[in-house]
């Protein structure tokens, strides 16, 4: 009874704010209809709670309690704050696309001199004036997931990038989400990356807070379509403020003989959830997904991956490492489905957690559903503390306890970080890990 009440209260407050925000949400006609449908889908469940199997470790009703009102569009002061924060994330040679408080910031972004065959538009622009096919694609994520539905209803801005057949981008695309506000608020963003056939690209997503940003909520989603014979390298770094929430979803589809290499690391935010569906739509494709959680204090980070093998001759690798200190809580849920037609699938998943305190928690839930008979599938998981004999060896060589721990933690997450192909991006990830290690020292 209590739960039903809570849901209604949350729902009512939000439906008011949805009504209030309507005028600021881009897109009329079919887009507005799709928003309404999505919002109704969200309202039926409300914030997900522990009795929903997929959310049993991440009860947003308990952790987040409510969805905050839509953030105001950034003013000059906010943009200035954001610009300072963005500087710290700069990578040599990357094309920067910045969203401040959920709104695309052209002045902080680099849109000039786009390579031939590449188009970049804002989500707002596409929802207001884009063609119907593109708009439909933006609504493909499944409203059955309440947080996806909420994002579909409220999405305000983002970037829509299209790469034409045969174009191999040398310059990484870096999408930076910055929260500037001292007023608690929510931002809702959605981005789309469409790679044609025979293409290649690198996408970096960073989530950061400007100085003074408080308990904001970042609700983001990403849709990626990778064409035949194409390759996407993807790096995702969550360094949100320590009072912030980051609820993100991704839907990635691969054509034939495509390759998706993705690395994600969460070292920021109070509560975060990253839920990604990776679907093989063409034969002979390959996915490597590597993830790292670095958590301390009372941080909670949930990575939920769904690998959908629907066609034959595809391979997937999932490597996940969690380092949890204090009362941190790391969650990894990895579901692999191998559908009846997906013969010769090769799918593996390995997770390891390092617990640095007695109160640290790491939950690991592998789910393998295999409906084809000629496949190689496996998963493994370990949880443990730092090896005392290694710590003593390092201390006997002059390293303090924290230094010795830091070196062993770096080694522990190193395997996942090494999966990043681009040197500059690997450095970016190492620097983020370093910031977390230094903050705990």
């Amino acid at each position: 009874m209590n739960v039903v009440l809570a849901k209604n209260e949350t729902g009512r407050a939000l439906s008011d704010s949805f009504a209030l925000a309507r005028d600021r949400l881009p897109g009329g006609g079919k887009v507005a209809e799709a928003r309404n449908t999505a919002f109704e889908a969200y309202e039926r469940v409300g914030l997900p709670h522990r009795r929903l199997e997929e959310w049993k470790y991440t009860d947003l009703r308990a952790l987040m309690r409510e969805v905050l009102p839509l953030a105001a569009a950034p003013d000059a002061a906010a943009l200035k704050q954001a610009a300072a924060a963005v500087k710290l994330q700069a990578i040599k040679g990357a094309r920067r696309l910045v969203l401040v408080d959920g709104v695309f910031a052209p002045k902080l972004s680099e849109l000039e001199g786009l390579e031939k065959g590449v188009t970049v538009r804002t989500l707002r622009d596409v929802l207001e004036t884009g063609d119907a096919a593109l708009q439909t694609q933006l609504f493909t994520p499944d409203n059955a997931n309440p947080m996806v539905a909420l994002n579909s209803a409220m999405m305000t801005d983002g970037v829509v990038i299209e790469i034409a057949d045969g174009i191999v981008l040398k310059q990484p695309l870096q999408v930076i989400h910055v929260a500037s506000g001292a007023t608690p608020a929510a931002m809702f963003t959605r981005s789309l990356l469409r790679l044609g056939k025979d293409t290649g690209a690198t996408l970096v997503e960073s989530y950061i807070a400007a100085e003074g940003a408080k308990a904001y909520q970042a609700h983001d989603s990403l849709i990626v379509a990778i064409g035949d014979n194409s390759r996407l390298d993807h790096v995702r770094l969550v360094e949100d403020g320590r009072d912030a929430f980051n609820i993100s979803s991704a839907v990635i589809t691969l054509g034939a003989h495509a390759h998706f290499n993705t690395f994600g690391m969460t070292s920021g935010a109070a509560v975060s959830r990253y839920q990604a569906t990776i679907a093989f739509a063409g034969e002979g494709s390959r996915v490597e997904t590597n993830g790292v959680n670095l958590l301390n204090g009372r941080q909670h980070a949930d990575t939920t991956l769904f690998m959908d093998h629907a066609v034959p001759h595809c391979a997937s690798r999932e490597v996940f490492r969690a380092v949890v200190d204090d009362r941190g809580h790391s969650v990894f849920q990895g579901r692999i489905i191998v559908r009846p037609d997906a013969q010769k699938t090769d799918a593996k998943m390995m997770t390891r957690a390092l617990l640095l305190s007695d109160d640290a928690e790491a939950d690991n839930k592998p789910e393998l559903e295999i409906f084809a008979d000629d496949v190689t599938c496996g998963h493994g998981a370990t949880t443990g503390a730092l090896d005392e004999s290694l710590l003593f060896y390092l201390r006997a060589r002059g390293l303090s306890e924290k230094e010795a721990q830091a070196l062993l933690i770096q080694a522990f997450v190193g395997e996942a970080i090494e999966s990043i192909v681009n040197d500059d991006l690997r450095e970016l990830a190492i620097a983020a890990a370093q910031r977390w290690l230094e903050a705990r020292a």
Binding site: F392, A396, R397, G398, L399, E403, A404, L407
Partner: protein
């Protein structure tokens, strides 16, 4: 002043007393050999000097240059100049040897209030020492001791000893698992580090090692005590007559 003074040291692990009042004095420039049968407490002594957790000192003291060593963390002891060459050096996958060496050396220097080594100076120094110990460069790029043979692991210990320039070196069963050629290379490395300012405590089960590292003093340990001390000839005597004669004495 003595470099290292172990005075009437009593150590227990859980409910078992391992050292029952051990006394040992080591002066600069001296090489001491500690011999004794398995279980006599030789390795325990080395661990307690280095500060390994899990040992309870119930009585006695260890002074290093007059300072109470037992009050110091293991890393402080290292920075002060205490070095333990491990009997079984651990493998640390994911930590490149070169990175480990630099981090350790600079941590010690920082603790002593010295400036960090510049990269070129550091590299030059490591290369020189590695060459003298027959350690190939590509070994330094690998994870610490990962995939190293027994001999390579021991040489890596001596490499660190040469690099950190400690005042006292405790060599715990350096000869275990080494064939005669590997033993010779390791012993040559140790001998090269002998100096009037530096002392060594060589812990071994067999006299063989002492043919290569010739000690000034030999101590026989049995059941947690030093039961006999003498010159280098004592080791030869032991080789001929064995440890049994001391078991009763203890």
């Amino acid at each position: 002043m003595s470099l290292l003074e172990v005075k009437d040291l009593k150590v227990r692990v859980e409910d078992n007393e391992i050292l029952h009042g051990l006394t040992l004095t080591v002066n600069p420039g001296e090489v001491h050999a500690i011999m004794g049968p398995n279980g006599s407490g030789k390795s325990t002594l080395s661990h307690v000097i280095a500060g390994k957790p899990g040992y309870e000192v119930t009585d006695g003291q260890i002074l290093f240059k007059g300072e109470d060593l037992l009050e110091m963390e293991p890393d402080e002891r290292a920075a002060k100049g205490v070095f333990l060459a491990f009997q079984y050096p651990v493998e640390i996958p994911g930590v490149a040897t070169m990175n480990f060496l630099r981090t350790a050396l600079n941590a010690q220097r920082k603790e002593r209030g010295e400036s960090e080594f510049s990269t070129p100076d550091f590299l030059k120094k490591v290369r020189e020492v590695a060459k003298s110990l027959n350690i190939p460069q590509d070994m330094l790029k690998r994870g610490v001791n990962v995939g190293f043979s027994g001999g390579e692991k021991k040489r890596n210990e001596i490499l660190q000893m040469a690099l950190f320039e400690p005042a006292v070196c405790i060599l715990d069963e350096m000869d275990s698992g080494l064939d005669i050629d590997a033993l010779r290379i390791a012993a040559d490395g140790v001998n090269a580090l002998r100096s009037p300012d530096r002392a060594m405590v060589v812990i071994t089960h067999y006299q063989r090692l002492l043919n290569y590292i010739v000690p000034d003093f030999v101590h026989v340990m049995s059941k947690g005590r030093v039961v006999k001390s003498g010159g280098k000839d004592l080791a030869l005597e032991l080789e001929a007559s064995g440890y049994t004669q001391f078991e009763d004495a203890a």
